[in-house]
Structure formats: structure tokens, C-alpha cells
Symmetry: C2
Subunit: 213 residues, 2 copies
DNA sequence: GCCTTTCGCTACAGGTCGTAGCGTAACTCC
DNA sequence: GGAGTTACGCTACGACCTGTAGCGAAAGGC
């Protein structure tokens, strides 16, 4: 009833078990691997994690949010070392992303939660914050490096730069997801080389003709 | 027991009601609009269509296949008029595809069935045959026209041409889907212009430097 | 020690799935 | 026109999952 401005956990009472948290998320990933998204149930996850079903519902409102959190941590692996050229940077990050999509947990979960998010705005925001933004940072970093190297012209209009970043991100992430999940073909070296060549060529052509428009 | 080589329906007995077929598919789309993928149930669809639940199960093994068939007919609208240039053709087909993705039926259903298909090979094949191939034909037609116009060099190696078609398809379809469903930003004129400029530039650059490799 | 919150457990109503069984309707072949 | 075959609507059913409620016990802060 008093001032509760401090969101730093609830100061009093029994604290939530962090072990339970990690056990639940781990159990969720295991269930995704074995059962897939559609056959995964809250009761099953609770059993695997060794906790009561009510404990899950105290932390996550539904399967959707639980799975998002369980998969999101996998995206921490994504890194962006400087490989010396824009094309090399693109190829490296695409292969990393593809490896993530090859894992059965993400393969079955990612599209499913995105599908759910088309009718659930808070869920979409959760996905954006914990998964999408994490990928987008890599695009930003790669573009900035390419500009410093002189491979891309320095952006004058910040709006146009943002729009280009958005476009590149949608093209790369979309193409990889579509290749891996819709076409169901391998995202391997040759394909990635073609994709990055197309992108680098397209960016170069755009810069040569009209710039950032 | 006798020879049943003729697959032209089953010759004897009461034929299946084609009215029921169309009513069910229409009811499925209506349910997708109102309820979305996850809350759509077989019983609900049966009620809307005015048929018994058992009638649904006699035709479709599960919700997945039913929804694929219900959404697939929408992709018949996709057409590919010759607009005179590769870039114009790309922009037109992308805007058409985007309009399809804006519809609530497809928005909620498409990603969901693809997610299911990652663990269901027959379902993936059904999606490929009734939805994906229908889109892919447009890419083929656009590429051939561009070659006839001289915008793209004639492909010598058929394997390389196929690979390029696949790449373009994954890039276009993937980018549009990602933009519309993941980024949740509008696929409007300016964005489409940027995307097609990137593609045309990339294809031109690839042709100029190394060709189809 | 008192208060607060979490935990595991059980039980429960509500809803969905997918099937079985029945009598009836529609159509083909003889 | 009758026999055979298949589809239809209807009801009922067991199995499963959801999400919540209520309980006593446990684990922290003050």
C-alpha cells in the first residue's frame, strides 16, 4: 500500500527461485526439441523442470511469452567480428544466423511466436525487444564499419540511413528465414556468397547512381 | 478390391458435396479473420459452414491442412503483367504480395502453417505445391522477360540460372514477409522502390563483374 | 517472532480433439 | 426399380490441455 516505486524485486517475502527460472527455460527448450511448438504444453514443461504448473503461470502468462524468453537467450551468441570487408562481415553474420535457425528449438519456435504476434501486440513488442533488436544491432555495426572503410559513402540524411538499415535488415533476415524454413534448402557457403554479393553489388550501385536517394 | 486405377473420384456411392467444400473453406477464412490461427477450432469452422464436424475430418486430417487449402486460393490473384522494365515488374509483384499479406487471414495463417511444417514434411510439401510454387512462377516469368529485354544477360549455365532464381525468390518473398510480419512496418511504395532498386542494382553488378559465376 | 511472498500439491470447470456408432440421404451399376 | 456403396448429420465419448483456486509448508525481510 505504501510507496512501491522501487521495482527492484519485492523487498519482502520469499524470493523467487532463480534456479527454477533457469530450469524452466531449459526445460522449455528441451520440450521444443522433442515435441515442437504445437505439442509443447505447460504441464509437460513443469514436469521436466521439476516445478509445479502453478509456478510457471506465476511468471509467464502463457506459452507464447515463455517460449520467447526460452529462445531469446540463444541469440546472445550472435557476434560481429571485424573481418576486414563488408562482404566478409555479411557472410559471417548470415552463417551465424543460419546456424541458429538450424537448431530445432528455434526452427519450430521462431515462426510460431511471430505468427502469434500478429494478433498480440505485447507479444510482438517482447519479440522485438528480446530477439529482433539483438539482430538489428549487427546490421548497424556492419554498416558503420563499411562506411569507415570507405566501402559505403557516409550517410548525410539520417532518415535515409535509418531506412536503408531497415531495408538491409529485412532483406538479410527475411531471405535467410525464407530459405531455411519455407524453401527448406540449406543456408550454406555458396548460397551465402551469392546473397552477400547481391547485397554488396546493390548497395554499391545505389550509392553510385543516386546515393541514399 | 478390383482395379481402381482411375482416380477420377470414386465412381460409386454418394458424391461429396462441393458446396460443403466451398462453405468449409470460406468458413475457415472467416474464422481466421475473427479468431486468428491459434483460437480457430474445427468445431467452430464446422458450425460456421453449417456442416457436421465429422465432415471436416473426412476431408482434412487436421487444422493445418485445412488452413493451407483455405488460404491457398487467395494466391490465385497473383498476376504478372508486363510493365516494360524489370524494376517495374518487381515493384508490381511485391506490392501484390504485400497486399495479400496485409489481409488478416493470410497474416495469421501463413507463418503459423510454415512453423508447423518444420516438423511435418507432408504439410511442407502441401504448402510448397499450393502456395510457394505459385509465387515462384512469377519470379521465373520476370527473369525471362528481363533477359528478353536485354536487362539481364542470357544465362548459359542452367544450374546457375536456377540458383539465381531461387536466391531472388527467397530475397523478395523473405524481405516482404519479414518487413510485414516481423518488423511490422508497412510495405508501401517508397520501401518497395528501395527494395527493387537494390535488387536490380545487385543483379546488374553481378552480371557486370563475374556473371552467373 | 511476525509478516509477506513463493512453493508444491491437489482439485476442478471449461474447452478441444478425434473417433465411433447410428440412421438417413444420394448416387451408380445391374 | 433394387442392391450396393459412399457421404452426411447427429450424438456421445474418453483423453487431453488450459488456467485458476485453495491449502499447508518453506524461505526470506524486519
Amino acid at each position: 500500500m505504501c510507496s512501491r516505486t522501487n521495482p527492484r524485486s519485492s523487498r519482502t517475502g520469499r524470493p523467487r527461485s532463480t534456479e527454477a527460472d533457469t530450469a524452466i527455460l531449459e526445460a522449455t527448450r528441451a520440450a521444443l526439441v522433442e515435441l515442437g511448438w504445437s505439442k509443447l504444453t505447460m504441464g509437460d514443461v513443469a514436469g521436466r523442470a521439476g516445478v509445479a504448473k502453478t509456478t510457471l503461470y506465476r511468471r509467464w502468462p502463457s506459452k507464447n511469452e515463455l517460449v520467447v524468453d526460452a529462445v531469446a537467450v540463444l541469440f546472445d551468441e550472435l557476434e560481429m567480428p571485424d573481418l576486414g570487408s563488408l562482404q566478409a562481415d555479411i557472410e559471417h553474420v548470415v552463417l551465424q544466423f543460419a546456424a541458429l535457425l538450424e537448431r530445432p528449438e528455434t526452427k519450430t519456435a521462431l515462426m510460431a511466436v511471430v505468427a502469434e504476434s500478429t494478433r498480440d501486440e505485447p507479444l510482438r513488442e517482447r519479440i522485438r525487444a528480446s530477439i529482433v533488436d539483438r539482430q538489428k544491432r549487427l546490421v548497424l555495426a556492419g554498416r558503420e564499419r563499411a562506411q569507415q572503410r570507405g566501402e559505403l559513402p557516409p550517410g548525410r540524411d539520417p532518415m535515409a540511413v535509418d531506412a536503408t538499415d531497415d531495408l538491409i535488415f529485412d532483406v538479410i533476415a527475411g531471405a535467410v528465414v525464407h530459405r531455411a524454413l519455407v524453401s527448406a534448402e540449406p543456408v550454406d557457403g555458396p548460397w551465402v556468397a551469392r546473397l552477400s554479393a547481391l547485397l554488396v553489388g546493390g548497395l554499391g550501385a545505389a550509392a553510385a547512381t543516386g546515393g541514399d536517394r
